[in-house]
Amino acid sequence: MSPRAIAILPAYNEEQTIAKVVRGLREAAPGVERLVVTDGSRDGTVAQVTALGERHLELVCNVGYGRAVQAGLHYAMRHGYDVVVTIDSDGQHDPRDVSRLIDELSRTGADVVIGSRFVSTRSYRGPMGRQLGQLLFSLVTGLMGQRIYDTTSGLKAMSAHACRTILEGRFLDFHTEVLVRLRMLGFRIAEVPIDVHERSAGRSMYSFVSGLAYPIKTGLLVITGMIDALLRGKPK
């Protein structure tokens, strides 16, 4: 019996891409339910999603990527889903990878499967600051006993157990700090190579300033996540 799965699509001002992503998911992963989290979008994202008849969580203010995902996870856990997949709404991810990630989760028994841009020879080039941060935090995860090559991927599949544990902790960015905490608590994390497309429309949530601030902010979150796991966490 296949697990009951839901894809969470956090969307902030993605009116130009959200319809394509939703249609792609309907076609590529018909067995996976969807929840679009319109994170205080000021453009026509909500109208697009409503016109598509898609289930959506309409956050009245922009609370940021991590908190939008958190709202989606709350919904998924309250409604008894076995697997949660997060996927970006900007069209950079291939909807066909959603099923691949879920299959990998079932096949390997991992708690989290990351759609990784760096695990294979396929190359992805982000901004320099983000690449450096990515490398740094990848090495940090190596110290936890398992190197995770793509700590900032927006495409992840997670078991309900992992989701519940994530919701118990501090929740801000939903990137490296979450993975480090899960790893320290004994959760199994796997990576599957994926290809990503360049953003074709809309604006990235990353700017030059946020690129510089990212390693510092995430570094602090990783440290607090590690302390949290050491003090309050129980081995799985």
């Binding site: 959506h56 309409e58 956050l59 009245v60 203010c61």
Partner: protein, 127 residues
């Protein structure tokens, strides 16, 4: 510090306290914050008004001049107040985010509940 300086600082402190009390009376500042500001002002004003006490504090903090000790104390107080406000802002932000999430979750679940009820009541839903 000269008598003229002490009088001036005490006068400014009184003005500041009166200003905070006015804000408190008009409901534009919480009593807790008002107490914090008034308390800090009174501590500094007392130190300025009693030279032997200021001299003692100057020796205790390792400063050479009383004015340096006062500046240091003012800086520490301001720093603590700023940290306190950062904490309060974070708390407010957390509550706001939680509220936004809960509101949206309830709205979605309510619309789903209504849709289910409507589906169950419709003749085709009874199939």
């Amino acid at each position: 510090m000269t008598l003229q300086g002490i009088i001036l600082i005490d006068f400014l402190a009184l003005l500041f306290v009166a200003g905070v009390l006015f804000l408190l009376r008009s409901g534009r500042i919480y009593a807790g914050y008002a107490a914090l500001w008034i308390g800090s002002t009174l501590v500094l004003a007392t130190l300025v008004s009693i030279p032997p006490l200021l001299a003692l504090v100057t020796t205790m903090v390792g400063a050479v001049f009383p004015v340096s000790a006062l500046t240091l104390l003012a800086f520490v107080l301001t720093f603590l107040v700023l940290v306190l406000f950062s904490v309060k802002l974070t708390e407010l932000h957390e509550r706001q985010t939680e509220l936004i999430q809960v509101l949206s979750l309830r709205a979605l679940e309510e619309s789903e509940r209504r849709a289910t009820l409507a589906r169950d009541r419709s003749p085709s839903g009874a199939e």
